[in-house]
Amino acid sequence: MRIYSPPSEETLRARRLLADWAGDDLLTQEQYQRLQQDTVSDIRTTNIFLRLVLFLFTLIGVAAAAALFVPGFRSPDSEQTVGIFFLVVAAACYAGAEVAASQARLYRYGIEEALAVCAVGFLYVGMQTALFSGRPYSLQPNEFQFLVPAAGAVFSLWIWRRFGLWYAFPVAMIFAVFLPGCWTASRSAQHGIVALLYATGLIAVIAFRSRHHFDYVEDDFSLVEALLWLGIYLALNLQISPLNLRAQWLSGGTRAASEFPRWFYWTTWVLIWVLPPVVLARGVRQKDRFVIAVGAIVAVLTFVSNKPYLGWPRHTWDPMLLGILLTGVALFIRRWLARGAGGVRGGFTATRLSGKDKQWLNASSAVLGLITPHSITPSPQTTSADVRFGGGASGGGGAGGDF
């Protein structure tokens, strides 16, 4: 199924690890150079910046090429030919991605990724245009409308497995969100179906993962498992669910218990409290960075959404309490781990083991420092004498607030 052979991907992984270890002085330069000879791969890779730029220009080229030929297929009485043209473009993009990966041996190179992404996009637009264009809009679910998101989800999953592009998986999850809307108008059933779809995927992923330890496949499935846990949580949390976002934005408020059957509403409330410890326990047991991170995120989301769930008013000091809780937990864990023999307890440590962690932290510090003032200065700055603060909107160090 995978376009790259397992030895090629393992070799690339070994090469990356060697570079990390040499950077951390765990290997001498002589050792590094010698071991590099053992990890020569026929696959072509590049660095993240060139990868992004190559991705961007491939997208521009494909989109412009499609737009160039669309008028030739447009007829005044039917949009279906345009839809069929988009499907042909999708097929061409997919073929291009296959050739780029199998013949040119491009791996995370931007070009083959953009072609695969375009294939998914054009498939979706093409199917929608070819099958459903020109039909009057109706709030009633169309029983065949599900074909479009279903095809998008299946094709995205294929791209994820075939090319190993992690971001194709969340795209498939997003397509899956649109499926239940085609089958039922019941909001609670929609939430339940999405959660069930994700849970089915999660069971399959956990079963598959259990056969792989410390290899590249485990790395891939780690992220996917984390995304599925997050998806299940978001589908069940009625206060922040993506299924409700549009309605929430329109109404400008939170979801009331009356919008759902009482038993369903309170079951989801129980589940959003049950899920975080389950996810965290799973992450800790597997020593899985992504699953632990999702466990922490859903725990915070549960704290944030608990009051709206219960219909209690929010207080201005709630974020302060949350901040104190997060800081307290971090300090407690750090100190608890540090008191273990050699700073290790139960196979966990708070100390930095890799130079990459420091690089991540340095880069994050610089970026987060730049965006933080904007986060805490919500309102625009005015220049009247009766000044109201908010100058951080112009990039200031947050001499803001809005008093």
Binding site: T46, L326, T351, S365, V387, F389, G398
Partner: protein, 314 residues
């Protein structure tokens, strides 16, 4: 062959010592597993949530709480943070200095953000500078630069740079007829000031590791400023020339230093600028799309060549 099998093979071949094998294999097996990053992000989120709540509370309840209580609480937090930092900071050094403790950086960050809230409150309630509060931004920028260099902190350096940018922007917004041209000139002045300052400090060997932050910010502000000039209806020739020069310099720097972010800046900003000049008068859709097809393929060809020769993962 998994990495563990490879390590075993390398040990048998004598390429690595048994001690190295043991250490590297344990790292691969995540024994122990480091929670360093997770705990740091938890601390960051905690500080941010606390400051957001503090600001929100002060905004909402300042009338009921009264100036004395608000200022006393803010000052107490501020004093505690800076007392902690100054009392625990190691002796200042030109070189990179590790933080003395795991929470040190976050206490400094908390202090810096509380400083912003307190200044804003003071000005709003007492109008100490009679509404000329852009000077607070300048003072804050200077103070944050001092803190960033004293405690070797990138968080606060970024706050200082954004405060300085805010001061430039805010000063212009007070002018009666501020226009894009004025903003552009001040953006360039900001680039010049920050770029020269960063370079000077680097040459003097003062916190050389900060130079990357300066350079990235200056490059982005400079390219945006030049692009805004290229987008002008008239008199864009000089800006276009300057954009080409900046792209050339960025490309050369990126290739020479193997800092590929600068290659990416040159490619993207340069493409946008050149494309705008070429297609600004074009009204034919076919010509427009054909242009994008041809140029995108051309850019891909050039970038693939660069990637093949120098763009391997670092």
């Amino acid at each position: 062959m998994t990495i563990l099998a490879r390590l075993e093979q390398w040990r048998e071949q004598g390429a690595i010592s048994p001690e190295q094998h043991s250490h590297l294999a344990s790292l691969c097996r995540r024994e122990p597993f480091s929670l360093f990053l997770e705990l740091n992000f938890l601390l960051y989120a905690g500080v941010l949530a606390f400051v957001a709540g503090l600001g929100w509370t002060v905004v909402t309840w300042s009338q009921q709480l009264g100036d004395v209580l608000v200022l006393a609480v803010l000052s107490a937090i501020l004093a505690a943070c800076f007392w902690y930092c100054f009392s625990r900071a190691p002796v200042w050094s030109l070189a990179e200095t590790p933080a003395p403790g795991a929470v040190f950086d976050y206490v400094l960050y908390l202090g810096s953000l509380v400083w912003c809230i307190e200044l804003a409150y003071l000005e709003n309630r007492f109008h100490l500078l009679s509404g000329q509060w852009d000077f607070y931004l300048l003072a804050t920028a200077v103070f944050f630069f001092f803190l960033a260099y004293r405690f070797d902190n990138r968080f606060v350096l970024s706050l200082a740079l954004s405060s300085l940018a805010g001061w430039f922007g805010l000063t212009i917004s007070r002018w009666p007829s501020h226009q894009d041209a004025a903003y552009r000139q001040y953006a360039l002045l900001y680039c010049l000031l920050v770029g020269l300052g960063g370079m000077l400090l680097k040459q003097r060997g003062v916190k050389v590791h900060f130079f990357g932050t300066y350079l990235n910010i200056v490059a982005n502000v400079l390219f945006w400023a030049l692009l805004s000039g290229v987008f002008e209806q008239q008199g864009y020739g000089t800006w276009f020339l300057a954009l080409l020069l900046a792209c050339g310099a960025s490309l050369a720097w990126g290739l020479k230093r193997r800092q590929f972010a600068f290659v990416a800046y040159a490619a993207v900003y340069g493409y946008v600028g050149v494309s705008w000049i070429i297609i600004r008068g074009v009204t034919n859709d076919t010509a427009l799309f054909a242009y994008f097809v041809v140029t995108a393929v051309g850019m891909l060809a050039v970038l693939v060549r660069i990637a093949r020769h120098v763009g391997r993962p670092a």
